[in-house]
Amino acid sequence: MSTAPLSVPSDEAGPAARAVGLTKVYGEGDTAVTALDAVSVEFDRGRFTAIMGPSGSGKSTLMHVCAGLDSVTSGKVYIGDVDLTTLKDNDLTRLRRDAVGFVFQAFNLVPTLSALENITLPMDIAGRPVDQEWVDAVIDTIGLRDRLRNRPSQLSGGQQQRVAAARALASRPQIVFADEPTGNLDSRAGAEVLSFLRRSVDEFGQTIVMVTHDPTAASYADHVLFLADGLIVDTMEDPTPDRVLDRMKGFDGKGRRS
């Protein structure tokens, strides 16, 4: 497959998404919990980034905020050049629709729609024409061409997640956010989904940010961010499962910055 004409837009300079001084506090007063503490991060184009950290480290919050699903307490979040913190709900929704792809842990698909309809859903909602050539390429990559007419309930969990991943890519977003995409899958199905995400980075130049707690999943990424207590405490290039696991062990008990 030729990758040149079928790649995500990368003509813009700079990172696909970035956060500056990002702080997110839940609650008020004595019960206030700081989920993110002045985090600054850049997600470079064409790179696959994994965000790791123990429960409560703020990794999911970071992803939700960067994806425009949650508001910030202070700081700025950009997708391309657009500052998400200045957008109203409708504009934010349109930005999510047009520039962001999502893969959630579960319940990614509309049960009444076929696999194909689910894949083209964001474009259909926007009323935009579907880039058929691109969608075909994505479908071929997930390898579910013969199941396109099926409803989600007729697909296995792994197949459903691959359809969800295909949907995330179908609208050619600037960035794809995946929240524990393999959390509900067995290792073989998980590997299929991760391979697909990896290929979409390699072959289409897609930018992907994935939250996971699974070292094996993280090893598919180019780059790993480690979060603890709302701060980025470490990064790792070209991760392997063993190295990631070792690093994660380091959080047990002594991960706290003190």
């Binding site: 409708n90 999510r96 047009d98 319940f107 509309v110 049960p111 009444t112 909602i125």
Partner: protein
């Protein structure tokens, strides 16, 4: 388990309120109906409970309905003398009670509820024999003195000594108010009026001066039983009169009232039934969804060791508590509904003075029983299905209630529906009494069938109705249609309320429109006279009116028509008596043999339908028994096709005069002279009738308008009652949508995450409601048209000859259903649009 049931009740407050409202409304309407009808029954029964004579003697002749002066059956004064002589009689009094004396108030208006009797009576001082209790002045003793019932006296503003204007069968009369009496203990006459005179004067006014009575009341001496006295009286008075004990007479009166009100009772209870039926659907729906949403929780309870029985019992208990609370509130609402019904009937002129609402213990019991039972029954099936959830389901992500196949429903429903429609068509083809029974049966069958089959057809039909949605509204449109299709049972149950409501409303509307068109058509075809003069309730007025009208300038001719209740071959009917020649100038009847001119003295014109029923032909003798007991002999000299209300026996009025039947005209036709100014003529006619406030002049157009507006009024009452079904339908749609939004929280969150705007989510919910509502409306309107056409065909013989389908009206109902759907969806749609994306996605 008890605690678990209680907790879950409190936990789902919103759903609780929604299904609770359904119960409250259903119970409220049933209870309201019961209270209203009990109140009516009590009011009318009390009218007679106050008379306490031991034996009642009445003429044997049945007047076949309302008898007015001149046609009322009587007994000669000698009968009273005979009764007084019977051993064991302590007192006996003759009563003269005849409908025909109207009281005119100081403003010139006739007192009393239109249609209610306006009695003239004789006065009696013996309180054992009469329910009249003097409260002011004295009893009337001389001619030209009157006593009025207390309600009439109060409403008219007359006080003792004033001159009271009356209209009697012999003409207008001014008399002096001698006294005011209370009728019975309460004075309540339910809209009727009574003017009492001295016995001689009453006989002169009402019975043509004959010494006669309409009823004889007897009080027994001590130690004589009612039965013994009745037997003794019966032995003396012989044939020609009916002797009943006081108890029998009271029972008969009560039975007659109950029978008379049965129509109202049945009518209202049918609506209550519809309300409850529709309410049951909502409750069933709610519980199905509640259980579906809690299936994981229930599976967890099973996994923790709860038995299936415990689970079912817990859900049943939950529903019973909900039903009880709903029923208690429903009873309170029912009192309000009863007030509303009273107001509704009052606003339509049927003013029913009551002594407060009657709430019988039975009503409370029925209300509670219905509330609890219906809710428990509605919860039973979802509860049993929930108990079948395998415990392991608690651990899985997607838990679905086991669903049953729709095949049985489809087959059963189709059979019922087809059977019902066929029965209607067959009934319409055969016509007559058996035909209408068949149609009625068919309507019930078709409605039940449609409800049973609707889940099976909901999917395909929704797809057809929503075919344009994807094109018009894009993905949001197709998602909405798919959501409606996805749970065909729920869609069907939600739509059923609208379906039933609209089926009945549209059928009634079509039927009423056809009835109006038929009446108008007949009037146009038959009546040639420009004006019609009549009093309310066919109460006769003096012949002087016709003479006065004839003398008015611009009148070419008049024809007075008398209606006499008679028996022909043991069948009660109204004999039409007029001057055939004059009548022939006023109306055009389609004669098949002879004409009105051929009626002559001793002749009778009969419509072909009646002739066929009685097996008589031209030249045959007809024996007519008058209410007075006399028999008149006629010979059929003309036959005509019945035209709407124009049917029956028509004779020359001279034949009545010969038989000494002195009855007034029930209406008078007036033919204008050629070139007369009709507007001027009408005012002249009205001016000439100033002494007769009971009589009104109507142009042909006004006459038509009066009849059609009374049809409209009946239609309005029915539609207002049915709008309750529509109200419940709205609630049902709100309920379903709120619950399905809750159910699809994660899906909606996901749609929002991938780029659906709030507006689009709202549209999706609204469009789903729209397609559900239109589905219900289309099925309902289809059934309604079929009902109405069958009914009209069945009643062609009864004068509903024209079928007129108000397509614009039906289109309006369809649009209205859509609006109802959209309105019902607003709040759930708003909630759906407001869902927090992140929370929605992470919802369990």
């Amino acid at each position: 388990m008890l605690r678990s049931a209680w907790r879950s009740l409190l936990h789902h407050k919103l759903r609780l309120i929604l299904s609770g409202v359904a119960i409250v409304l259903g119970v409220g309407f049933v209870v309201g109906t019961l209270i209203f009808t009990d109140t009516l029954n009590t009011t009318f029964t009390n009218l007679f409970a106050d008379t306490s004579s031991d034996v009642v003697v009445t003429p044997a002749q049945d007047s076949g309905g309302r008898a007015f002066a001149g046609t009322v059956p009587t007994m000669p004064g000698s009968t009273l003398d005979d009764v007084r002589a019977v051993q064991g009689v302590a007192a006996a009094g003759g009563q003269v009670l005849v409908d025909g004396v109207s009281v005119v108030d100081q403003a010139g208006e006739v007192l009393g509820t239109p249609g209610a009797p306006q009695f003239g009576s004789n006065w009696s001082d013996d309180e054992r024999l009469t329910p009249f209790r003097l409260v002011e002045g004295r009893g009337p003793s001389a001619p030209n003195e009157v006593a009025l019932d207390s309600v009439s006296a109060e409403k008219s503003g007359y006080s003792v000594g004033d001159t009271v204007r009356l209209v009697t069968p012999t003409g207008p009369l001014s008399v002096t108010l001698a006294g005011v009496f209370r009728y019975g203990t309460s004075g309540n006459l339910a809209g009727a009026t009574i003017a009492a005179f001295s016995t001689d004067f009453a006989q002169e006014l009402l019975l043509g001066g004959e010494d006669a009575y309409t009823e004889i009341d007897v009080v027994a001496s001590e130690s004589v039983t009612q039965d013994a006295l009745a037997a003794a009286v019966r032995a003396v008075v012989g044939d020609g009169v009916t002797v009943r004990t006081g108890q029998e007479a009271a029972d008969d009166a009560t039975a007659q009232i109950t029978e008379g009100l049965a129509f109202v009772n049945i009518f209202l209870l049918v609506f209550a039934g519809i309300a409850l039926f529709v309410g049951t659907f909502i409750i069933l729906n709610t519980f199905s969804m509640l259980v579906a949403q809690r299936s994981r929780e229930l599976a967890l309870l099973r996994a923790l060791g709860a038995t299936r029985g415990q689970l079912v019992r817990s859900l049943i208990l939950e529903s019973a508590v909900l039903g009880l609370v709903g029923a208690v509130l429903g009873i309170a609402v029912g009192v309000g509904v009863a007030f509303g019904l009273e107001g509704l009937f009052g606003a339509l002129g049927a003013d029913i003075p009551t002594e407060g609402l009657v709430v019988l213990p039975r009503t409370i019991v029925v209300g509670v029983a219905i509330g609890v039972l219906v809710t428990v029954i509605a919860a039973l099936s979802p509860a049993i299905r929930a108990s079948r959830i395998p415990p392991m389901a608690a651990l899985r992500d997607d838990v679905a209630l086991p669903t049953r196949s729709l095949r049985l429903r489809a087959v059963l429903g189709t059979l019922l529906l087809a059977g019902g429609l066929a029965a209607m068509t067959a009934g319409a083809a055969s016509g007559g009494g058996s035909g209408s029974q068949l149609v009625g049966l068919g309507v019930v069958g078709a409605l039940v069938g449609a409800i049973v089959v609707s889940p099976a057809i909901a999917g395909p039909l929704v797809r057809v109705l929503g075919f344009a949605f994807p094109r018009l509204f894009g993905t949001v449109g197709s998602l909405a249609v798919q959501n409606a299709e996805r749970q065909p049972r729920r869609t069907a149950a939600t739509a059923s309320a609208l379906m039933i409501g609209l089926a009945l409303v549209s059928a009634l509307t079509i039927f009423a429109t056809s009835a109006k068109a038929s009446i108008t058509e007949v009037i146009d075809r038959v009546i040639g006279a420009e004006f019609l003069v009549s009093s309310g309730a066919q109460r006769p007025f003096p012949e002087q009116v016709a003479s006065d009208l004839a003398a008015t300038e611009g009148v070419a001719a008049v024809a007075g028509v008398k209606l006499v209740p008679v028996q022909v071959a043991d069948t009660g009917t109204l004999l039409v008596a007029a001057d055939p020649g004059a009548l022939g100038r006023m109306i055009t009847l389609p004669f098949v043999a002879g004409s009105l001119a051929d009626v002559g003295a001793g002749g009778v014109a009969v419509d072909t339908q009646t002739a066929a029923d009685q097996g008589i032909a031209a030249g045959d003798p007809v024996s007519v028994q008058l209410p007075t007991g006399a028999t008149l002999e006629y010979r059929v000299t003309a036959l005509y096709e019945p035209a709407g209300a124009y049917s029956g026996y028509v004779v020359d009025r001279a034949s009545l005069a010969e038989a000494d039947v002195a009855v007034g005209d029930s209406f008078v036709y007036v033919l204008a002279a050629e070139g007369a100014d009709l507007g001027q003529l009408q005012s002249d006619l009205e001016a000439g009738l100033a002494d007769y406030p009971t009589v009104q002049v109507q142009s042909q157009a006004e006459f038509k308008a009066q009849i059609t507006s009374s049809v409209d009024q009946i239609l309005l009452v029915m539609v207002m009652l049915l709008s309750l079904a529509i109200l419940i339908a709205i609630l049902g749609i709100v309920n379903t949508l709120v619950l399905s939004v809750v159910e699809r929280t994660r899906e909606i969150g996901m749609l929002r995450a991938v780029g659906a705007l709030r507006r689009q989510i709202r549209s999706m919910v609204v469009l789903e409601a729209l397609v559900i509502a239109v589905f219900g409306a289309v099925v309902g309107l289809g059934l309604g048209v079929w009902f109405a056409v069958s009914l009209q065909r069945t009643l062609v013989d009864q004068g509903i000859e024209v079928l007129e389908i108000p397509w614009a009206g039906l289109a309006f109902f369809l649009v209205l259903a859509g609006v109802v759907g959209v309105l019902a969806a607003l709040w759930p749609a708003f909630r759906a649009g407001r869902l927090n994306v992140l929370e929605a996605i992470s919802t369990e």
